[in-house]
């Protein structure tokens, strides 16, 4: 196996792959954030908390109800999504007409409360979740060993992201949604129930965060802090990509994961901050973000 820039190729590819996994989560979460922002004009700080909720419900399903991973993959996003829709209907809806900062602050409080609740109930320590049996084992690719479950995570998240992108850009439903972003009153005049659409959008994107939580449960430890540590990075990703485009959010998420992985190889001590450094550079060179439109 040859060296690349003085680093064994196996190590390099391994880290790129790990980066892609992190990137998949960045992509799924920033995709949801971008859609919620586009439709509701809300920066959903609680997105990380919903992801954490997804992972916890998955863990609870297994330990309390005996529901396995595959059942959780279907049930959990629905549970989390419904919870999100209720939050939108009861609280967020009342905040649309005032300054955006208040909805950000509301979701901030929600994230704090959810994290506090789960820490209170289950403690701060991470809970292990077993990898489902069908996805144990590894692929031997010759240059590296790839655990099957990790390959599944990348595959599943890329597929989901692509699906969402296709729905938003190529279908009638997506057209309605995009139209409602541009001019909600006109879309209402065409007889489309915009408030309901907003609730469903929020519920769907939050469910997507829950789905990411299910995927994450066997890889990362299920812990109350897993959401907040991720959401801050995802915010940086969103600033880098700009909130304007869904495809942009996906691409930025994946590529920043890879950049983070590469940094772990070449300069490990900077790997925790490299995304923030990229953010600063982007803000200086292209303030609206890579795919963003200024206001």
């Amino acid at each position: 196996m040859p060296d690349i820039f003085g680093v064994p190729a196996a190590v390099l590819l391994g880290q790129v792959l790990l980066g892609l996994i992190n990137g998949s989560f960045y992509a799924m979460l920033s995709l949801g954030l971008a859609i919620i922002f586009g439709m509701l004009n809300v920066i959903n700080f609680a997105h990380g908390a919903f992801y954490m909720l997804g992972a916890f419900v998955t863990w609870l399903c297994l330990t309390q109800l005996g529901l396995n991973y595959w059942a959780a993959l279907v049930v959990v996003p629905i549970v989390v999504g419904v919870f999100g829709a209720v939050v939108e209907r009861l609280f967020l809806r009342r905040l649309y007409r005032i300054d955006h900062l208040y909805s950000l602050l509301f979701t901030f409080g929600l994230a704090l409360a959810m994290e506090g609740l789960f820490r209170y109930l289950f403690g701060a320590a991470g809970k292990p979740y077993p990898v489902p049996e069908t996805l144990t084992g590894v692929f031997r690719l010759g240059f590296m060993v790839l655990p099957v479950y990790r390959a599944w995570v990348i595959l599943a998240s890329v597929l989901v992201c692509l699906l969402v992108w296709l729905v938003m850009e190529k279908t009638r439903l997506g057209a309605w949604l995009r139209a409602a972003t541009e001019n909600p009153s006109l879309v209402t005049a065409f007889g489309i129930n915009v408030p309901l659409m907003l609730t469903l959008t929020y519920g769907f994107c939050v469910g997507l965060a829950g789905f990411a939580g299910v995927l994450a449960a066997p890889i990362y430890q299920v812990s109350p802090a897993m959401g907040s540590s991720l959401i801050v990075i995802v915010f940086a990703v969103v600033v880098i990509g700009g909130l304007g485009s869904i495809g942009g959010a996906i691409l930025t998420g994946l590529s920043l994961g890879v950049i983070e992985g590469l940094t772990k190889v070449f300069y490990p001590s900077a790997s925790a901050i490299v995304i923030f450094v990229v953010m600063v550079l982007v803000l200086i060179l292209r303030p609206a973000g890579l795919f963003g439109r200024e206001n």
């Binding site: 409080g109 506090g116 820490r119 990075i233 925790a272 901050i273 923030f276 953010m279």
Partner: protein, 326 residues
């Protein structure tokens, strides 16, 4: 009821001396407080009063939501702790160094973020502060998870031993009052009015020829500096610099203090900080989860009384008085 309040309001306007009595009572309370209440709690309250008031300068008066103010508070705390413990600098020099560090950091954050509006600004400050957090986790001098422990308090002006908790209280009181006076002067200067103008109608302020980004930057740096002062004082009094001081939770808490007391009012953050710190002190022994309670208060505050305790009371009072006139 409204007649009574109206009469009272008229009375306070006519007889200015009533304010002097009020100020005297307040000063006496602050001076005598350590005899009645646990001094470390008072010091904690004072530090957060200054911190929340400093945040209010940008949040309430300039209309910039910063979700990264813990970076200034905690960053200054680390620098002060390091200066006092490892370099053995005296109290004043350590606090000054910490405060200057916060000012420098505020300038950097401000230059990077100030041109972006609203939510972007919030996300940028949050991300930058988190970068500092990760650096605090990794850098050798911060002590990682352990933080910097048993920071020496030293002597004030080389005369007064700050090991005495009461002496520490009075020094912190003096410094916090000084910080609040700086804020008061700033807000009641032409500069303060320019900030208000920018908050109320930014395009109009631009059309008047004001360099909006420049004024915002100055307000942001001043806010960061005073937040740093608050952090430096706290680290000396509590003799511990830890990761909690730079975490996003703290940035959120200080926003809550400002919000719950009343954004854009001078008294608001003072009331809010006192309320939240006292509440946390009481919760700490009750076994209830603090983060959950704080989060729920946050949501309730946003949904029900966005103007905060002080802002809401003033607004109600005004309505009452106006009704009285009709």
């Amino acid at each position: 009821m409204s007649m009574l309040i109206k009469g009272l309001a008229g009375f306070t306007v006519k007889h200015k001396w009533i304010w002097w009595i009020g100020a005297f009572v307040l000063a006496a309370t602050l001076l005598l407080a350590p005899a009645m209440v646990y001094p470390l709690l008072l010091i904690n309250i004072l530090c957060f009063v200054l911190f929340a008031s400093a945040l209010n300068l940008v949040l309430g008066y300039a209309g910039l939501l910063s979700l990264g103010h813990a970076a200034f508070f905690g960053g200054a705390a680390y620098v002060t702790a390091h200066a006092a413990k490892t370099w053995g600098l005296p109290f004043e020099a350590s606090v000054l160094l910490g405060t200057l560090f916060a000012a420098g950091l505020g300038l950097v954050f401000g230059l990077i973020g100030i041109r972006r509006y609203g939510i972007y600004f919030a996300m940028i400050t949050l991300a930058l502060a988190q970068m500092l957090y990760f650096m605090a986790v990794q850098m050798p001098f911060t002590g990682g998870e352990d933080g910097i422990q048993s920071v020496p308090r030293g002597m004030f002006l080389g005369l007064v031993d700050l090991g005495d908790i009461n002496a520490m209280y009075y020094v912190v009181l003096g410094a916090v009052v000084f910080g609040l006076m700086v804020l008061w002067r700033t807000l009641h200067s032409p500069f303060g009015h320019i900030l208000a103008a920018i908050r109320e109608n930014e395009p109009r302020a631009v059309s008047l020829g004001l360099d909006v980004a420049y004024y915002k930057l100055i307000a942001f740096v001043l806010s960061a500096t005073l937040s740093g002062l608050a952090g430096s004082l706290k680290v000396i009094a509590f003799q511990l610099a830890s990761l909690n001081n730079v975490s996003w939770h703290l940035s959120g808490e200080v926003v809550l203090m400002t919000l719950i007391g009343g954004m854009g009012t001078f008294a608001g953050p003072i009331i809010g900080a006192t309320f939240v710190v006292t509440l946390e002190h009481m919760l700490a022994t009750s076994g209830l989860p603090i983060a959950l309670v704080i989060g729920v208060i946050f949501m309730a505050c946003v949904m029900l009384f966005r103007r905060g305790f002080y802002g809401e009371s003033v607004a109600r009072l005004k309505v009452m008085l106006e009704r009285g006139h009709d």
